[in-house]
């Protein structure tokens, strides 16, 4: 039996542990924090939106992301497929036109169509794009669910509060899923700061994520149930992890308020800030060094990309398969080197 040590219990590490364990590998999952999701995964939007992401991501992201829909909604059964709604303030309708040009698998809605989907948004926007096949999940719930499933498998040992550096070398394979913390080992990995906000309001109900387009301050609002809404996320080329700025909060609250004025009276439940690990092309990478495989560079697509990357990591470990589109450096990186 192949043995593998997975380092890091964020979404990439948990998915990798799951895929390896299901493929019959004996898995040791090691995490320095006391529980799952202590890193940037906990602040994710949790939108499984491969086609919306085409707005600013390369086709590879949508292609890999398609696999996540099935994984989170059927295999793990933690995601809801209720689609994504995309709207723009009246003076920013050009943003909606551009968004439609870059994405696919949507239909166009008029004001009545919006009202039928989201009654609380009735009369607020003249038109929208609707991506019916997309899903959303609560990242913390999803991480816990995945951890619980791992705990039930006989070939998985989970070790929290343990620093992998202090352990003896891994038996066969090491799967490094440390995200930004692996930066010393992965030249070219950078952090892109993101800040989020959790609001509570009983005055508004949404059934699906809503993206609010704006040339400088695009934002999304994801319903988390029980009156909770996640508002995200800033994108700043900066590597400071835990520092939420007043300006960012103003922008995020303003976006929520633009979507619906009831958010003005919402309770601020939590603010969060961390950095997304990204390579220069903002595409994920499987980096193979001997018998260490790094899964990294998931950028703003952790939950969207982790299942597909984990599945390929398992094929590499078990079957020696190569995935050149993920293991070779993208041309962009060569150009920068």
């Amino acid at each position: 039996m192949i043995r593998a040590r997975v380092i890091g219990a964020g979404v990439a590490g948990l998915c990798a542990a799951w895929a390896l364990a299901r493929a019959g590998v004996e898995v040791e999952l090691v995490e320095t924090a006391a529980a799952v999701g202590a890193g940037c995964s906990r602040y994710a939007g949790g939108m499984i939106a491969p086609w919306c992401e085409l707005e600013n991501a390369e086709p590879l992201v949508a292609c890999l992301g398609g696999e996540a829909l099935d994984f989170w909604s059927r295999e793990l059964a933690v995601a809801t497929i209720a689609g994504s709604l995309v709207v723009a303030p009246a003076r920013e309708t050009a943003e909606l036109t551009d968004f439609a040009r870059r994405t696919k698998n949507f239909c166009r809605l008029d004001a009545d169509g919006i009202a039928a989907l989201e009654p609380d948004l009735a009369g607020r926007f003249p038109r929208a794009l609707y991506f019916p096949a997309e899903a959303h999940l609560d990242p913390r719930q999803a991480l816990s669910a995945l951890d619980a499933r791992l705990a039930s498998l006989p070939n998985v040992a989970r070790r929290f509060g343990v620093n992998a550096d202090a352990l003896p070398p891994a038996p066969d394979w090491t799967i490094d899923c440390r995200g930004f913390s692996a930066r010393g080992a992965l030249p070219g990995l950078r952090g892109v700061k993101g800040e989020m906000l959790l609001l509570r309001s009983d005055d508004i109900r949404l059934s699906r994520p809503v993206r609010l387009l704006h040339p400088r301050r695009p934002a999304y609002i994801v319903p988390r149930g029980d009156g909770l809404f996640m508002i995200g996320a800033t994108m700043i080329e900066n590597e400071e992890r835990a520092r939420v700025t007043a300006r960012s909060i103003v922008e995020l609250v303003n976006s929520a308020f633009t979507l619906h004025p009831a958010f003005g009276e919402a309770e601020i439940v939590e603010t969060g800030s961390d950095v997304r690990p990204a390579f220069v092309d903002n595409l994920p990478r499987l980096t193979l060094r001997g018998r260490t495989l790094f899964i990294n560079g998931l950028y703003r697509h952790g939950f969207l990309l982790a299942p597909a990357l984990a599945a390929r990591a398992a094929r590499i470990v078990c079957d020696g398969v190569d995935f050149p589109e993920l293991t070779n450096a993208h041309s962009g990186e060569r150009a920068f080197a």
């Binding site: 600013n56 991501a57 390369e58 551009d98 040009r101 870059r102 950078r190 952090g191 700061k193 040339p215 400088r216 700043i236 080329e237 900066n238 590597e239 400071e240 520092r243 700025t245 300006r247 990204a278 220069v280 092309d281 903002n282 595409l283 993208h330 041309s331 962009g332 990186e333 150009a335 920068f336």
Partner: protein, 261 residues
């Protein structure tokens, strides 16, 4: 040869690119190469965060192999802009600063009063100031009085992609300041817009959104390079003066002149 001189630099390219809003730094890098530009602008205010935590991105900019023109985007007062310029001087080891003092958050219209104050302060500290300004002639005078040696008037509001809003004002600026390098900054959307301002005799154009948010940023960077070259070459070749009447390029010898009168 038709070099452009901006302060102490002689440049072959008349296109300057901003570095924000690209799909990735890799696409930015390819766009910079396709554009042939020799100067890129880069913002520092927000990226600086609590210190030097923007360093990874700045290092990517330095590695582009072109001159970095740091900007003070996001600054709302002269004081903020001066402080940002001082930080930029350290980060990019340059005295060049693209000065932006924003007066109105929604339209990002320059606060021309703060702009003149900040320009004066920065020039006295030895900076080479590239002020982002409106097309107002008197403000331009004041900026030159303050010691600016380059002017960067807008064509239209930032990110609007409208092209030249007020050709009369841009022409007037060109006519009043024949020897000052004039760079159109902001408001261009299509390559033809860049050609149009170059045909007005402007020295260069600065773009960001038009390239970064195009469907194919690299292809658009190439298109703008050609458009800027075309406009410049057209201006240097002295376009014919438009006429109200048709002017046959072949003489119509079979008809007496008075019939055409």
């Amino acid at each position: 040869m038709d070099p452009l001189t901006l302060y102490d630099a002689n440049l072959g390219s008349r296109l300057l690119l901003g570095t924000a809003r690209y799909p990735s730094p890799a696409v930015l890098g390819e766009a910079v190469r396709a554009s042939g530009c020799e100067i890129v602008t880069v913002s520092l205010r927000r990226e600086a965060g609590g210190g030097r935590s923007g360093e990874s991105f700045w290092a990517l900019i330095r590695d582009l192999g072109v001159k970095a023109l740091p900007n003070t985007a996001g600054c709302r007062t002269a004081k903020e802009a001066v402080a940002t310029a001082q930080m930029a001087r350290e980060v990019f080891a340059t005295d060049w600063i693209k000065l932006e003092v924003i007066g109105e958050e929604d339209t990002l219209q320059p606060d021309v009063f703060g702009l003149v104050d900040a320009a004066r302060a920065l020039v006295s500290e030895g900076f080479c100031v590239f002020p982002y300004t409106t097309d107002d002639l008197v403000v331009a005078e004041r900026l030159l009085d303050a010691g600016c040696r380059v002017l960067m008037p807008w064509a239209a509001p930032i990110g609007s992609g409208r092209g030249v809003n007020n050709a009369f004002a841009l022409r007037a600026l060109r006519a009043h300041f024949p020897d000052t390098p004039l760079v159109v900054d902001a408001g261009l959307g299509a390559p033809s817009h860049a050609t149009a301002v170059m045909e007005l005799g402007y020295d260069a154009v600065l773009l960001n959104t038009a390239v970064a948010r195009a469907g194919d940023p690299v292809g658009m960077a190439r298109a703008f390079r050609l458009a800027v070259e075309a406009g410049r070459a057209g201006w240097r070749a002295q376009p014919m003066t438009p006429r109200d009447m048709a002017e046959p390029s072949t003489p119509t010898i079979d008809r007496p002149f008075d019939q055409n009168a």
